[in-house]
């Protein structure tokens, strides 16, 4: 791969001869969860060139078309440059000192008058890990509220719920290197070719080198990924759970499940009266009797023979599954994640090279920045929980907080938080590098909550690099430094920092 990057660079250099006096600095792309290594070319303080980092251990010099725009997004004339406050429906430029004083006064007044839970923080998988960690520490360990959320609630929360409910801990256990060891790769709800292109190239390269590799695609759309599929399952949108159950049915019916692994490592539970209850393997088999391929075809529209083929190929391991928002961003998303884990657990396709259920992250720092730092309403850094006294005590000690500062009850999750903002129960909110004024469901209510003038309207401050549909209705707008302008880390899908 280094040779590709080198030769391509030489070609471009020969054509343009522009790289005299360009200095190169190491960085990572800030666009998606793949986490490609890049080298940024700059002359003085101007970014002028970009290339893949051939020394990056996993992406080895590859980038995708998105990365072309990295220098441009930093140097656009549209950037926010000065703090602005909204007065009488108009935005006026103010000094940094005045902006910080205003924000501090508003938050302090809210906390003193209405308590710690009257303030909230809404962060982002775009922020640096250090930024999310600092906000989490301030709000939970300093102010004493768990009203701390982030936009991964809208994308990765299903994956978080799936991993925690299945394995007891968040975060996938695979890595990109598993691609090269897999015999079957299962892509579910993932247009990897266009959303994680560098990962898709590794899949293609592996398949080109080993023709025996199979690619199963489960996606209602015929995306560019489907063109490379050994079998493409295209269910009616929302009916893929039946397909996944049916694959499990076929695997067990045909005796391809791993009895030894199941006996040693797997428990089977159902929810009865709101609580998990053990049913055993036999109970699971009985449940799956309702998901024959023929019935799954009636439910999902996927032909029974394709489901059978996909199930058969899945057992030709090691099997690596990748999925992303097609599985996560929907109701029943946690269940869909559980069903992916089920397939790996009943076949023992887990915890060995090439075998893993691997949820791909969309944002560059949802894993490292929000999940690992615990910047959600119910968790604390690195897998700890606000509900556990020992975890709260450990973080209070680490943060130098007064014992008892971190509440034991989870705060408001994202949707509830913006509803509380709309009812004026949240008095002050800080939004960091995300755009709920465009991206939240039931948007009109959220926009009214953030920006509609009214008596006792909550104070909303937004930190961002560009004008957005959120900055246009905020009370205070603070310009953010961007990728390449500040130091920090991203933690990408395979949790490489």
């Amino acid at each position: 791969m280094a040779s590709v990057a080198g030769v391509a660079c030489q070609g471009a250099l020969a054509a343009g001869n522009r790289d005299d006096k360009v200095q190169w600095s190491k960085s990572v792309c800030r666009f998606c969860g793949t986490g490609c290594g890049v080298m940024v070319g700059h002359k003085g303080d101007k970014l002028v060139a970009l290339r893949g980092d051939p020394k990056h251990p996993t992406t080895k010099g590859l980038v995708c078309a998105k990365a072309l725009f990295l220098p441009k997004i930093v140097q656009s004339p549209d950037r926010l440059r000065h703090p602005m406050v909204r007065r009488n429906g108009r935005y006026e430029r103010i000094s940094w000192d005045d902006a910080m004083d205003l924000m501090a006064d508003k938050f302090t007044d809210a906390i003193k008058t209405h308590g710690a839970d009257s303030v909230a923080f809404y962060g982002s998988g775009q922020a640096m890990t250090e930024e999310s960690y600092l906000a989490n520490m301030l709000f939970k360990g300093g102010i004493g509220t768990n009203n701390v959320e982030g936009n991964p609630r809208l994308c990765m929360a299903s994956a978080v719920g799936g991993y925690v409910s299945t394995f007891g801990k968040d975060e996938p256990m695979g890595c990109y290197d598993d691609i090269w060891h897999a015999k079957t790769i299962f892509l579910v709800g993932s247009n990897t070719a266009e959303c994680h292109p560098v990962i898709f190239d590794q899949i293609l390269a592996h398949k080109q080198k080993d023709r025996a590799v199979n690619i199963i695609v489960l996606d209602p759309r015929k995306s560019p990924v489907a063109g490379s599929a050994t079998v493409h399952l295209d269910p009616i949108p929302g009916y893929d759970l039946a397909v996944l159950h049916s694959m499990a049915h076929c695997i067990i019916r045909d005796g391809y499940h791993d009895t030894g692994f199941i006996d040693k490592n797997v428990q089977f539970k159902v929810v009865k009266d709101g609580k998990p209850a053990k049913v055993g393997f036999d109970g699971y088999v009985e449940f799956l009797e309702g998901f024959t391929p023929e019935r799954a075809e009636m439910i999902s529209g996927v032909p029974a023979e394709k489901i059978e083929e996909a199930a058969r190929l899945f057992t030709h391991g090691p099997t690596l599954s990748f999925w992303t928002m097609g599985l996560n961003q929907r109701t029943r998303g946690v269940w869909a994640n559980n069903l992916m884990h089920n397939l790996h657990l009943i076949t023992g396709q887990i915890g060995k090279p090439g075998a893993s259920p691997f949820s791909l992250t969309g944002q560059p720092n949802a894993c490292g920045g929000v999940r690992d730092t615990g910047t959600l309403c119910h968790i604390l850094p690195y897998g700890r929980s606000v509900k556990k006294a020992g975890d709260r005590k450990a973080m209070e000690k680490l943060w130098g907080s007064t014992p008892g500062t971190i509440p034991s009850k989870p705060g408001l999750h994202t949707v509830a938080m913006f509803k509380a903002l709309g009812r004026d129960e949240i008095k002050a909110m800080l939004i960091l590098t995300t755009n709920p004024g465009q991206s939240m469901p039931n948007l009109h209510g959220v926009r009214d909550a953030i920006g509609k003038p009214r008596p006792n309207k909550p104070f909303v401050a937004v930190i961002d690099a560009y004008p957005t549909r959120t900055t246009e209705i905020a009370d205070l707008v603070l310009p953010a430094a961007m990728w390449s302008e500040k130091a920090g880390v991203f933690g990408m899908s395979e949790r490489r920092y």
Partner: protein, 89 residues
């Protein structure tokens, strides 16, 4: 003007025909790489948007191309033309 170095991953069978199709795209030049599954590309266009369009539409949809990935981009000329460099102080 923007110059980008990239490569296309291609079906090995029919590689020569694919290279011919790629060379026929205005702004795209091909060159040999060590691996037969890849074709080196030099892409020159008016600006990054045009390069992006060439890669994601024209190159990627060429018969025999499985995908296209940039490895190098120089945008100094594009940024120097004033369109992207005016900043209010």
């Amino acid at each position: 003007m923007a110059i980008v170095g990239a490569f296309a991953r291609v079906e090995v069978s029919g590689r020569d025909a694919t290279c011919g199709l790629l060379d026929a795209i205005e702004g795209v030049s091909t060159f040999e790489l060590e691996e037969v599954e890849k074709v080196g590309l030099l892409i020159e266009a008016a600006d990054l948007d045009a390069v992006h369009g060439l890669i994601t539409r024209d190159v990627r949809r060429t018969r025999g191309v499985l995908g296209a990935w940039p490895v190098y981009a120089n945008t100094e000329d594009e940024l120097a033309d004033g369109r992207a460099n005016e900043q209010e102080d």
